[in-house]
């Protein structure tokens, strides 16, 4: 499968500044692509557009040549956000958060080091690194074809970072899921990605 952004331009309603200008990107489901830029250059915005959360002003997002919006039901492009504490419902227990995913295999939950004792807790009772494991598991549902990882390990310590990436890399390789890694850490991108694209204004 192929995920494609074609000549996308975008600005927020209240913004005076164009965030993306004719931005294009191609991601194959067999590759791992890095995306880097300073803050404020639209890294998160481009992920949101690629995952269908925002509609671009100009240009289109294509999945295997068809517009992403024409796929109904579960979205095959899943985004993992930078701040896990802001991307889970604070009133749901963690096991319910996992149920938001798409027919999750037990293997994934185990592989990410999620402990049984955490499942009955609420988000506020877990640390950032523990929460992020749930967010990653939730995104790895059965019908996921692409993962957009937006700075998903910046707030974690180095050991947890490498734990999470090693699991994720193995998983996407086995299932042929395309992976977009957004980060400002060059050593990390060099370590993880087949190629790296720079986003410039």
């Amino acid at each position: 499968m192929k995920l494609e952004a074609r000549d996308i331009s975008f600005q927020y309603d209240n913004g005076y500044r164009k965030i993306l200008n004719e931005f294009s990107l191609t991601l194959d489901s067999k590759e791992c692509l890095g995306l880097t830029a300073p803050s404020g250059f639209g890294k998160t915005t481009s992920c949101k557009i690629l995952a269908g959360y925002e509609k671009p002003e100009k240009g289109q997002v294509l999945l295997d040549g068809k517009p992403l919006s024409s796929y109904k039901g579960y979205c095959p492009v899943q985004m993992i956000w930078q701040h896990p504490e802001q991307s889970v419902n604070p009133r749901l227990r963690m096991k319910e958060v996992l149920n938001e995913g798409d027919r999750l295999e037990e293997r994934i939950v185990e592989g990410l080091g999620i402990e049984q004792g955490w499942l009955n807790r609420y988000p506020a009772e877990l640390s950032g690194g523990e929460l992020q494991r749930f967010c990653i598991a939730r995104a790895l549902g059965e019908r996921t074809r692409f993962i957009l990882a937006d700075e998903i390990t910046t707030m974690l310590d180095l050991i947890t970072q490498s734990q999470i990436w090693q699991f994720l890399l193995k998983e996407v390789k086995e299932r042929e899921i395309g992976l977009l890694v957004v980060s400002h850490s060059d050593p990390l991108l060099k370590r993880l990605c087949d190629r790296v694209q720079k986003l410039d204004g």
Binding site: G113, G129, D157, L158, I159, T160, H184, K190
Partner: protein
């Protein structure tokens, strides 16, 4: 030059929270355990630890702003005298300042200019605040903005500005860099470096070891509520000069040094009962690891590990690439 004075000295600090565990059951949750460190004049010491390890509590303990259900044991000395509630109330905001974690510590309904001046309206304070803003590359009219109008990077600089309005002798920076890209983060840290170079002691609290290594003089490695090692920045240039297995694991987890991980997660502070908090994940655990372990000096640094022998200055049977 005379010997630099010790600005802050923390000895055997423990923090215990009293909680209600359903009904009238009270439980004691120990979040920081036997923590010791020192900061000297002109020195920048970084406390590096994962989220949930109790780093922010350390800052709050020094500032005397722990919540009411926390109790503290051990000693905190400021300028070689005990820092009790009376003294901290006298010094905080003046000689001892905290640069907090996020924009939420600013008053959302107050212009940043008056927040930097702490409400003072006299000419001298105004002039001083203008020069402080200028020092951090902010325009004079920034003072008329409200916190919500600031970008992430500007907010950081405003928070630092509030700290340097007086002549601080001790600056505690709690996670000053998240959400900033590398260049911006380095710029923010260079401001703290400057403050240290001007003679103040700076205690930097962060999860980002790679950044801390660029600016600090010494690194205190923090794990599950206690410090397992204190090392010079130069000790992190290679694995062999590090003293604790956890620090070595951190070293090996860097993308440039192999990206190796260790299974398991940091235990909750309350779960560690005695002994080394890292014992459950360490490849070299033995029975003695679960008993009390002294914090001892080795090669100029400090370490809390029974395998560390102060005589030969190295870890027994721990070559390069151990624990895989």
């Amino acid at each position: 030059m005379e010997e630099n004075r010790t600005v802050l000295s923390i000895e055997h600090l423990s923090i215990i929270f009293t909680q209600y565990d359903g009904g009238f059951e009270q439980t004691q949750l120990r979040t920081i355990k036997d923590l010791s460190l020192t900061v000297k004049e002109g020195e920048m010491v970084a406390v590096v630890g994962a989220s949930g390890s109790g780093k922010s509590l350390l800052a709050h303990a020094v500032m005397g702003i722990l919540p009411y259900n926390a109790s503290m044991s051990g000693e905190i000395l400021y300028m070689e005298e005990e820092l009790n509630q009376k003294r901290i109330e006298k010094f905080r905001g003046r000689e001892i300042v905290l640069v907090p974690q996020s924009v939420s510590y600013l008053d959302p309904l107050m212009k940043v200019g008056s927040q930097i001046r702490k409400g003072k309206k006299d000419e001298a304070s105004k002039r001083k605040s203008h020069s402080v803003l200028k020092r951090y590359g902010l325009k004079e009219d920034t003072e008329n903005l409200y916190p919500f109008q600031l970008s992430g990077g500007m907010t950081r600089r405003i928070l630092i500005s509030t700290a340097v309005m007086e002549q601080p002798k001790l600056v505690i920076a709690d996670e000053p860099t998240p959400g900033l890209h590398l260049e911006a983060a380095k710029r923010v840290l260079s401001h703290f470096r400057e403050i240290a170079d001007e003679g103040a002691g700076v205690l930097l609290i962060t999860h980002d070891l790679e950044l801390a290594l660029e600016v600090a003089d010494r690194i205190v490695v923090f794990y599950a509520g206690t410090n397992v090692e204190e090392a010079f920045v130069s000790d992190f240039y290679q694995e062999e000069t590090l003293r604790h297995p956890y620090s070595r694991a951190l070293y090996r987890a860097m993308p440039d040094h192999g990206f190796h991980s260790v299974p398991g997660t940091q235990p909750f502070a309350g779960q560690v009962t005695s002994g080394c908090p890292y014992a459950a994940r360490c490849a070299y655990t033995e029975d003695a690891c679960y008993r009390d372990i002294p914090y001892q000096e080795v090669r100029g640094g400090m370490v809390r590990c029974i395998r560390m022998d102060s005589d030969n200055g190295g870890l027994h049977d721990m070559g390069k690439g151990d624990g895989k």
